[in-house]
Symmetry: C2
Subunit: 402 residues, 2 copies
């Protein structure tokens, strides 16, 4: 099969914007080869971020706004793709697909007692709009397929981590620190069903919201860990934070804004009265690091399961204070960044969703049941090709597959 061009789009729970990456891809599963051609990031304008934030809270998420923002965001995603193609001087007819994670506004991996209270999730950014604006086949809305097979609909990147980081001699923990922290554990020389993955707990979500509040909306994250590095970690607050029940829950488990969003930050702030702002930021940053290390010793490591390497990705890998804390809490492991593997942390998730979308289009399973808790493998994703030429391109590829 020939090399194909595709685009991956990621818009994370931290609501900072959209990452777009243009890649060249060939092969599939463990033989997948990916090369980054170009990339572009779009920061949400403040009114858009505000509107999306409203949707993340059940109290302010109206049905009308959900539907409007689904279409609005589909258009934003499409316009970013068109800009990226302009920048790279590539025509849409050369690109096979755009694959988009979408903006998560709700994720409930576990059901309740009533028969209609089943697990559900919602990623907005309409795929038909994305396809229509770009003229390219769009893939996305991955999580519901995994949940249909009994999985928690997350973490999805573990399939891609397995493809990119499996190694015959080293056992690895691939740790993403986005809004939420999540890990993929790949034992040395692993088979797909030995891969383990779960959300470790908070990523940057709590740090970001606290920085936003104490800087009175002037900063949306702790750039280069500068605020934290001026403060001291408060042991009493740290111990209190470590009591969060999610941290003791056995995997498979996933979490999001429901547990570590605004109302959680309210409680952190009320537990921090009297502390200097810098100490609060330093402490929640240390806490994020400690929840990760603690997750490893509690749920991964055993006499038969070691961890040799930890590879940090996501926005958190650019926070030196957080990296320092991670190395402190993980003393006997080599702590890498994704960049040490020629992979941009910033782009990792966008690349991952390009890989997931490509596998959906060629009809190969793109999910790891042992990571999500699903009963069986599935092909995740939904496909939209609003224009005949996008469909024909896809058909030609599939013709080559058979």
């Amino acid at each position: 099969m020939d090399k194909q061009l595709g685009i991956g789009l990621m818009s994370g729970t931290s609501l900072d914007g959209i990452d777009a990456v243009l890649i060249e891809i060939e092969g599939s599963s463990v033989n997948t080869k990916v090369k980054v051609i170009d990339s572009l990031t779009h920061e949400y304008e403040s009114d858009v971020r505000h509107a999306l934030k409203e949707l993340c809270f059940p109290e302010t998420a109206s049905l009308e706004k959900i539907c409007s923002m689904n279409m609005f965001l589909g258009r934003e995603l499409g316009m970013l793709v068109n800009k990226l193609l302009d920048k790279a001087s590539i025509g849409k007819e050369e690109v096979l697909f755009v694959s988009s994670h979408g903006q998560t506004i709700f994720h409930k991996p576990l059901g309740g007692e009533k028969r209609m209270d089943v697990p559900g999730t919602l990623q907005i950014g309409d795929l038909s709009m994305l396809s229509e604006i770009t003229g390219i086949t769009a893939v996305g809305d991955f999580r519901t397929a995994d949940m249909s097979a009994g999985g928690q609909g997350a973490p999805l990147v573990s399939f891609v981590d397995y493809i990119l980081f499996n190694n015959p001699y080293r056992s690895r923990a691939i740790q993403n620190i986005g809004g939420i922290g999540n890990v993929t554990y790949i034992p040395r020389n692993a088979q797909k069903d030995q891969v383990m993955s779960f959300d470790t707990g908070p990523g940057n979500m709590v740090i970001d919201e606290i920085v936003y509040r104490i800087t009175e909306s002037k900063q949306v994250y702790d750039k280069d860990g500068e605020i934290a590095s001026k403060g001291n970690v408060n042991q009493k607050l740290l111990n209190k934070l470590m009591e969060h029940p999610y941290l003791k829950l056995r995997p498979p488990k996933t979490t999001g804004r429901e547990l570590f969003g605004n109302s959680f930050v309210d409680s952190v702030m009320s537990n921090s009265s009297g502390l200097p702002s810098e100490d609060i930021v330093a402490t929640v940053t240390a806490w994020t690091a400690k929840t990760i290390a603690d997750s490893y010793s509690r749920f991964i490591e055993s006499p038969s399961n070691s961890i040799d390497d930890v590879v940090i990705g996501g926005g958190g890998s650019y926070n030196p204070f957080l990296m320092e804390q991670l190395r402190r809490y993980l003393p006997n492991k080599t702590v890498y960044k994704h960049e040490d593997f020629q992979l941009s942390s910033n782009l990792k998730e966008a690349i991952a969703f390009a890989i997931l979308g490509y596998h959906c289009l060629i009809g190969k399973s793109n999910q790891i049941p042992s990571a999500t808790g699903a009963e069986n493998p599935v092909i995740m994703g939904k496909i939209s090709h609003t224009q005949p030429q996008a469909f024909q391109q896809l058909s030609a590829l599939r013709g080559n597959l058979h």
Copy 2:
């Protein structure tokens, strides 16, 4: 191209349940040939209907319930498909696709003044869940593609009406009376871009809700028009109802529960105080008929545009009182039912969505811009194949296309 088996699923705005139809299909566009093999209807249980009704009102539609019901309904749709296949003694591996309209819980065809207040729509009943439960490729979520091209996302059935009813000698109005009334006008010997379509106004939605209230929840619709036929049409109330601003709005136009739902029925009831219940039902039934006839003379008929035949479909065609009123208000036209064309009114929309889904899968436009107001033709629909064998079946078909 060989004949293919496919399934169409319709769940209308009247929230009565799901119609499933198994069809044999071949050809495409005006050469499409369809044969009904079997069908099955699932009435929503009362708790499900109640939960869906809650979702249709922005005040009671919580984000969590939307997400849960999306998955719950995907499962219900899938289980109905499996039952239909059992009934027909057909294996899933013989069926190419399932195409589902989904349950509309919101539809706003026009945007507001703010830049993020764009048109949007939401049909629930997750396609990946549907594919996973059935093991068959699922298609659905059609409306957003049309809206992405500037259309109102409705009416979608006009494409199918054009395929099935275009005639070299007769000009036809194909009138569906579901929850909402909508018409497709096909001039004699029409080209696709001469087709006109819009929502005429209320269908059974207002009648049903009033019957539900006056029978104290014992009846959900006026079976065989029995209640209406015991009453008299109240001319004063009828004139008042005819003043509804939607009826004067020029096409393209679409409507739904937002205009003719509970709060509208509240106002009808308060305008009807003192009238016998039967008179209220008779009057809103006559009103439904009159809005249809009035729409024709106001927006379709002109010296160059005649209507020879009116073909009534949807639940309304089984209400003899409503049919009598229609004939009264349409004195110079032949008023048919769909059954006169060997097409079940009950199944018409489910068949229509099977046809739309099939066109999406083979990459052919399945929409009429002159009907929806879109700027350009699109291929509507999103596709999910959670299992490799479903994907392979689809690929084999597409291989035959090229």
